[in-house]
């Protein structure tokens, strides 16, 4: 059985239907990419999964829990972390305080220290700047902080929303390397990206979204060679 199963999801903003009966699944260990243009509904799907938006209909099953019925603040302790679009770090808190907020629901102090060391190893820049106010970090560093903060909860699945947005090409490559590392260390990844080329290059499978519908899905490598995908999303 899949780790995360989304079934017939319908989401409305007022009278406007943003998600039109979407179903998809994520298996343990996979990297799944949701790609599509601005406004296709990618971010809405992630927000609905982690409870920030309540869907009108449909179910979201995560390892036997129906997330639709669980309040947003109780989802992280089930093993699901969400790196939101625009990073949404706490700009007035220090880097270390941000990371500690990521582990808010954890009570295993000793293991938390280990996780922190692991994150410092993966993001040495965060260690250098741990006492700095997070709002003073560069965009790329803020993205690293947002990812580190999510990893502090020691999630089994991590949802990432546009991690490459607004970053220099150098940082974009670095961020995607890190996503690959996170996946290799055993964490399942659900990735939302406008940078379809990069996303497909690290994903196992992908779903292509258009105005609230899934129009294509399949193996990431195959999608990369699909003519319509090439034309619409890869600029070839």
């Amino acid at each position: 059985m899949a780790m995360l199963t989304i079934k017939d999801l319908n989401v409305y903003y007022g009278v406007i239907q943003a998600i039109k009966g979407i179903s998809f699944e994520v298996n343990e260990g996979e990297v799944i990419a949701l790609i599509g243009a601005n406004g296709a509904g990618k971010t809405t799907i992630l927000h609905t999964i982690t409870g920030l938006i309540t869907p009108k209909a449909g179910s979201i099953d995560f390892e036997g829990n129906d997330l639709v019925k669980i309040p947003a603040h109780k989802i992280v302790s089930l093993g699901m972390a969400h790196v939101p679009e625009g990073r949404r770090i706490f700009a007035e808190l220090t880097v270390l305080e941000n990371l500690k907020m990521g582990a808010y629901t954890r009570s295993d102090k000793k293991e938390m220290e280990n996780t922190l060391e692991m994150i410092y190893k993966r993001f040495p820049r965060l260690k250098e700047r741990k006492n700095q106010i997070a709002g003073t970090l560069s965009g790329g560093e803020q993205q690293m902080l947002a990812m580190g903060r999510a990893l502090m909860s020691h999630p089994r699945i991590i949802l990432m929303d546009e991690p490459s947005m607004g970053l220099s090409p150098l940082f974009v490559s670095e961020i995607f390397d890190i996503i690959r590392e996170i996946s290799e260390s055993g964490t399942t990844v659900l990735l939302v990206e406008q940078n379809a080329k990069k996303a497909l290059s690290i994903a196992d499978r992908a779903y292509v979204l258009e105005t609230g519908n899934i129009v294509l899905s399949g193996d990431a490598k195959e999608l990369m060679n699909d003519d319509s995908v090439k034309k619409a999303y890869l600029g070839e």
Partner: protein
């Protein structure tokens, strides 16, 4: 009329009471993005609870103070739950009007229970006046300074050093991101109202010990002054509220002594207008860019 030093110390005394009240305004604003106009009336409720526990139930001072602070904290949480929480997604004007309505409700309830006649109240603070040269400081002022200092230091440590304090700061910055961290936003808002109201209760106790008279509208003037202090310091900023409150008290005391007691309030509000002209976000206010 005493020395300048004496006026300064008296100003610090009143100012630190304003600061305690201003902290409630500023913390609630920071987290719920609303001005809780019923906050001043918590002072009045605190004063009446103290009166009832001390003079009617004849409880020892410590117990009376503990009951007063607890009562106000619970009242603060209750007001938020029944009046403000249902309006979380409503326009801010609706919340503002509700808060004003809540203020009237509390005053009317006090009027109903205790009627409009002021009740004389003997200070529970039994400390001798201190004399240093030609400067005299009353026991009440001395205790006020010490108690408010302890409250402010404890609060600052709580906000900056504890997990719950960090969570409070996280919620005031970004509620959705805070929820993704597993922070219960509703509980954090309740906690903020509880702390703010408990501080208002302490302010109420110190206030009646100073003025020794209780009436249903007792909270209105210190409430509005503390609100001014919070805006002066930069609403949303905790150190701003402390500085704003103390500054207001000192300006008030100095202008009362050396300029004119009739013009005091005009001077106080004049200072506010001036500060806001130069720095619209207040002394320590943040010019935060709104997120989209």
């Amino acid at each position: 009329m005493g020395s300048v030093l004496e006026q300064l110390i008296n100003g610090l005394g009143t100012g630190s009471i304003y600061a305690l009240i201003a902290l409630g305004y500023t913390m609630v604003y920071g987290i719920a993005k609303m001005i809780n106009f019923a906050h001043g009336d918590i002072i009045m409720v605190g004063a009446y609870v103290l009166y009832v526990t001390v003079t009617q139930f004849k409880l020892p001072v410590i117990a009376a103070v503990a009951i007063t602070v607890t009562f106000c904290a619970v009242l603060g949480i209750t007001i938020e739950k029944i009046a403000y929480k249902p309006l979380r997604k409503a326009p801010s004007l609706a919340v503002l009007i509700t808060a004003i309505g809540m203020s009237f409700l509390l005053q009317s309830l006090a009027l109903l229970i205790f009627n409009a006649n002021p009740i004389a109240f003997k200070s529970i603070i039994d400390v001798q006046t201190v004399k240093l040269g030609n400067t005299t400081v009353s026991g009440v002022t001395l205790v006020t300074l010490i108690v408010t200092m302890i409250c402010m230091i404890t609060l600052s440590l709580f906000i900056s050093k504890t997990k719950a304090g960090s969570a409070m700061r996280a919620v005031s910055e970004d509620k959705a991101a805070a929820q993704l961290m597993g922070i219960n936003v509703n509980r954090t808002i309740s906690m903020t109202f509880a702390i703010g109201s408990a501080l208002a209760a302490v302010a109420g106790i110190l206030f009646v010990c100073q003025y020794q008279s209780i009436k249903p509208t007792l909270g209105a003037l210190p409430g509005i002054k503390a609100f001014v202090a919070a805006v002066l310091g930069g609403i949303g900023s905790v150190p701003g509220a402390m500085i704003g409150g103390v500054l207001l008290g000192v300006i008030e005391s100095i202008s009362k002594a050396y300029i004119s007691s009739e013009l005091t309030d005009a001077i106080v509000f004049g200072v506010l207008v001036l500060v806001l002209l130069v720095k619209p976000s207040g002394l320590l206010g943040k010019n935060r860019i709104e997120k989209v």
